[in-house]
Structure formats: C-alpha cells, structure tokens
Symmetry: C2
Subunit: 194 residues, 2 copies
C-alpha cells in the first residue's frame, strides 16, 4: 500500500537491531485519520470473507483493530497479556514470546467472547517472527472458530514470520512488507506487490 | 446517557468489591458500533473546545479513545505503563496507583507527542478514584499543554474521584455515573443528569 510505504519512509526511524520505530503514527501516537485509511484497505482486502469478529492483542494492536472494526461493523476482542484480578478464570490461554522484552507472555481471551461460530479476522500492527499471530491463531483454534484472515500493517519480511504463515496457507495481507532496512544508511526496501 | 445506562443494566455484571464487569462491550470485547455512539456523544459534549489531540492510557482506554478520535479527526496518544526497550528515554513520567492490581505503575509519554501547543481531551473507559486521570493531567501539565476536558464512559460516582475533579474545575463529562451498586441484589442506581 503506497500510502503506508510513503508514511514509513517519511516518519519511520530505523534503529540498530532491526528496530523500526513508527510510534509517531502507529503505536504510541496513533494518527487516527491516517489509520482509518488502513482500516478501509483491510475492509477492501477481506471484503469476500464473512467476518463477524476482529481479534487483536494488547496494547498496540487495539487502536488499529478498533479503527478497522468501524469499517467492518463488528466487535473487537483483544487478548490480554496477563490474568488480572478482574479477569475471568474461564479463558483460552497461550504463550507468546516477545522479542522486544525477551520473555514469554501469558496471553488470555475469555471463553465468553470467542466460540465455534466466530469467523475471525486477526489484526495487528506489526509482524516480525510471527509469534504473536501464531498465538492468536492458537486461541481461535481452541475456540473452534475460523481464522478468515490476518491483516497486518507492517511486516518485517526479512524476519520470515509472514512467509511461514503464507506457506501454511494463511490468508495474510500485510499493507507494507519490508524486505530490507539499514540503520546506517537509513534506507528501506519494500517488497513489490504481486 | 440513556443508551449506555441501558447497556450497563443489560450486560454489566456486578461483582463483590465494587467491581463492575463490562468486558462484554468495553474492555475485553469492544462493541465497536456501540462504542462509536459514545464517541459521537463525546464529540457533541466537547464540540466547543479546540481539541487537537486525545490522550488515554493503555490498554483499555485505547479502543474507546481511538473510536472517539474518528469523530474528532485528531490523533490519539496513549500513555504506556512501563518503559519498554523500544521506548524513547525522553519522556514525561508519572506514577499511577492501580487499585485493580494494588501497585503503582510507571507511566510514560514520549515528549515528541505532547507539547505546549496541545489542547488535549483525556478519554478513559472508567473513572473510580481518579488516579489514572490525575496522572494523565499531570503529564499534560508537564508538557505545558491545556486539558480541554475529560471524557469518561463509566464513572463510579460512589468512589468520589469524579466529584473531586469537578471541584477542581475540571471539564469532566461521564456518560454514565453510578451512585450505588449492589452485588447481592444486582441493582445499579445512576446519577440523574442535570
């Protein structure tokens, strides 16, 4: 998606360790009018799927998922990273490795909000090694629901998680795929769309 | 707001310890088409204010703030609860006591995304003792910005945080104020609107 690629080139900052900071518009400050354009694009790409629910994970997935859900007119469920004292005990549970924080997070979704009748679109802001998305897919599998697709804003193609999911047959759309980026020169190479 | 009061009566669950669970539509599953109605109401209530940014706090504030921001056509900034390894070091910092988890959370906002030119609407899902909102106001104060108002979905009026803010002259609008609730009988008494 050209609009997103331009935004990344304009406002993204490459840091060492393959970190791309896009917190000016995606995951600390949320440029809502801009993210709405991404939401519309998800709706266009998954228009043929009978989606009745969007699943994401706290915290940075919630904004883009909620905005996208405005165009799908469906509820969002966000997976929670630890079982708070107010949390139901009757949950689907999985573990997701966070490379940002170098630890496994316990992730839960209440059984009340996901079941075998659900046709789920999973949305997240980033895709790198794919651990978060595999965890969310595992939760939909436990619920007996159907993953109709996965929509991601920015995929770090060079980390391989996206291609692994595609090889599994997952209906994955990433709005921008970075095949190469270099912190020293500040250059980013996007994958050409088919 | 009658629509919200009816939803709370229909879908809210009162638990002991003054806990109101509304995770079927507000803070685990987000009923996006419904929350959009709350967003429109915030826009109506703060229409006379020159708001250019919405500030909230992760995680459960992000959904309602992002959806409301669609009607204000402004960006959202969400305060983060701990300084992750990808986080800027140049931040506004405050501490917020969480009664849910009985601990102080370190809360930060990057200085890049809030400054003295900002006219801020603070939005959150819940208001109880007011600690979270006071922390967010402190961050806006550090930035030299102006708090144009605070919009809250559900205020637990009996915990006093909202009235304390009103006495301070804060332009606070809560869409539903609960003056009394009882876990045994399952009854909820809302404050009458003026």
């Amino acid at each position: 998606m050209e609009l997103l690629e331009e935004k990344i080139l304009k406002d993204g900052v490459i840091k060492s360790g393959n970190v791309l900071k896009v917190d000016s518009f995606l995951n600390h400050q949320i440029d809502v009018p801009f993210i709405a354009e991404l939401g519309k694009e998800f709706k266009r790409q998954f228009a043929d799927r009978p989606i009745n629910k969007i699943l994401t994970i706290e915290a940075s997935g919630i904004g883009i998922a909620s905005i996208a859900a405005m165009f799908f007119e469906v509820p969002v469920v966000f997976a929670k990273k630890s079982s708070g004292s107010n949390m139901d005990k009757d949950v689907y549970f999985t573990q997701i490795y966070s490379s940002t924080h170098s630890k496994n997070n316990d992730v839960v979704v209440s059984k009340k909000y996901l079941n075998k009748n659900d046709h789920v679109l999973i949305i997240d802001d980033f895709l790198a090694n794919g651990c978060a998305l595999e965890g969310l897919m595992d939760i939909v599998r436990q619920a007996g629901g159907i993953v109709e697709g996965i929509g991601v804003a920015i995929e770090k193609g060079f980390q391989g998680g996206g291609d692994k999911l595609r090889q599994m047959g997952v209906n994955l759309h990433s709005l921008a795929i970075i095949d190469k980026m270099d912190a020293v020169s500040g250059t980013i190479q996007f994958r050409k769309e088919n």
